[in-house]
Amino acid sequence: MSGLVAATSRYRLWFFAAALLLCAAAIKPAQDRVDAGLARSPSIDPDLLYFASPGAVKSLSLGYQSLVADLYWIRAVQYYGRREEAARRQVRYKNLAALLDITTTLDPEMMDVYRAGSSFLAEPEPIGAGQPEEALKLLDKGIAFYPDEWRLCFDKGFVYFLAFKDFNQAGRVWLEASRMKSAPPWMEGLAAMALSRGGAVETARALWERQYQNSASREVKENAKNHLLSMQVDEMLWTIEFLAGKYAEKHGRYPARLDELVHAGYLKAVPADPSGVPFDYDPHSGKAGLSAGTKVRYLKVPYDYREAFRQKLASLFPR
């Protein structure tokens, strides 16, 4: 009798083991069918955001908002990372700004979220979301929380500089950042570069000069010096071209050599670059340039205030 019971229970055991295997094997195809049905359904929005209000998420997190902030950040990173899926959406990264807003409301101290998040938002499509306005909003939120953090102002300046091409505004933001205690010494130079590119040449020159005089870093000093010398070279070359043009107006040709400008009374001496090496001069075009032997480390200045400078010269040398 007991043998029969044991055999029955053994069969039962095998039966349940087989049932378990069968169920386990059938789960995957069943789930795949459910997923396929969901994918076909037009009512499912892949951009669905369960909670759009940062305040509501904060209240509902029941004291675990720090972890919920992490989950939203992971979701934002994953959302941004799925480029193939994003390419199919009508508006790419529609929810990216909202996800980042919720993350930083739940945990406003997540510096990396402001920095990386604003970069995701500001980058043009298809690399980024192409939403520089949202990037500025996120950075302003970060700056409001961290008013002494130069890195957020640095990023904000970049959004103005690269996305909006508003060099003056970028320069102003960077200049503001350079006044923060924690700001690195090169920040002022960056502000100068942006401001000069935006046309504020004299401000830029003053900033480079101050940086040259005050910086303790040899590299920063050298960089400032090279910028100042490059500006000086540009202005000298534009002056030579201008005066050669004046000479041509009077004599019907450009001067054959630069010393003709001296003899004609336009210049007091034959001009040389700041390292003392004479400029190369082309009598056919009336244009001058730095000699190959120059010791000036010329930096191609990424802005052009030539026209403004010519007008200034014209006022000094009336007809």
Binding site: S59, L62, G63, Y64, Q65, S66, L67, A69, D70, W73, I74, V77, Q78, D107, E109, M110, D112, V113, A116
Partner: protein
């Protein structure tokens, strides 16, 4: 009041010993009930997070380990406090073991206090092991400043205080209600306790003086769990994750609040349990 048999003849000096004996037995019972199995799940969460976070996120790995670890400490602790707390007394009555216990020279209040302390000790062991687990995961992850490890301690302490309060709530319900209802009541109060600040805001916003008074009274009567999660208007776990200093003075006041509230609830549990008629 119905005190335990022979209660009047007890020697006062034996009281701590009797309470400790009950607490020790409660702790042993919890271990026998395999409460500490949650530590395996916790270890798995910590190991998986240390492996997976690098793939899932961009920076902030250490912060996320702290968030995940401390949240797990709090969630596991709360679940244990509720689901073990609700059966602390009820199980003894259901199994009728309370009769055997109260037949011995043990006061009813000693029984309640002993039970409460036993579960608190179980939670303390749990929390201590989990905190070491978080520290080890951070150590494995690397790049964590030494100060961060120290900053975990006040947060774990505040979580422990909130668990003591949750346990006390469950204990009160356990003395007169079924486990299912006790769990529901405790859970509701735990959730309401996180929204307590809204009551105070409501009291200031309402135009009715009566409703304002009721809301304000409820604010003080209901357990304020947000006391244990927010410090200087900052979430405590968040503070630890960013290695920010905490105000020791405020922690002292939170401790006072926790001890007073827990003391009051244990007193309620004793009063209810003392009035129960065991036939």
């Amino acid at each position: 009041m119905k005190w335990g048999p022979g209660g009047m003849g007890h020697r006062g000096s034996d009281v701590p010993m009797r309470i400790l004996a009950i607490a020790r037995n409660t702790f042993r019972e919890n271990i026998r009930d395999k409460i500490l199995y949650n530590l395996i799940l916790f270890a798995l969460i910590m190991i998986l997070s240390s492996i997976a976070l690098g793939q899932l996120t961009l920076g902030l790995e250490s912060k996320m380990i702290i968030d995940l670890g401390l949240t797990s400490v709090s969630v596991f602790g709360t679940l244990i406090a509720i689901f073990i707390g609700i059966s602390l007394v009820y199980k003894e009555m259901e199994k009728r073991t309370v009769y055997a216990l109260l037949a011995k020279p043990v006061h009813r209040w000693e029984f309640i206090v002993g039970k409460y302390l036993g579960l608190l000790f179980t939670l303390l062991v749990n929390l201590a092991i989990m905190t070491i687990g978080i520290a080890l995961t951070l150590l494995y992850q690397g790049g964590t400043e030494p100060g961060t490890y120290v900053r975990l301690l006040p947060v774990v302490y505040l979580i422990y205080l909130s668990l003591a309060l949750t346990t006390a709530l469950a204990l009160v319900f356990s003395t007169f209600s079924t486990p299912a209802l006790s769990a529901l009541f405790t859970l509701f109060l735990w959730i309401i306790g996180h929204f307590n600040a809204d009551l105070l805001q409501f009291a200031t916003l309402t135009r009715s003086a009566t409703i304002g008074w009721v809301a304000k009274s409820l604010y003080y009567v209901l357990p304020n769990f947000s006391n244990f999660t927010t410090l200087d208007s900052r979430n405590i776990i968040q503070g630890a994750a960013h290695a920010l200093p905490m105000d020791a003075g405020v922690i002292l006041w939170i401790t006072a609040y926790g001890l007073l509230y827990c003391g009051g609830l244990v007193a309620v549990a004793i009063l209810v349990f003392s009035r129960r008629d065991f036939k």
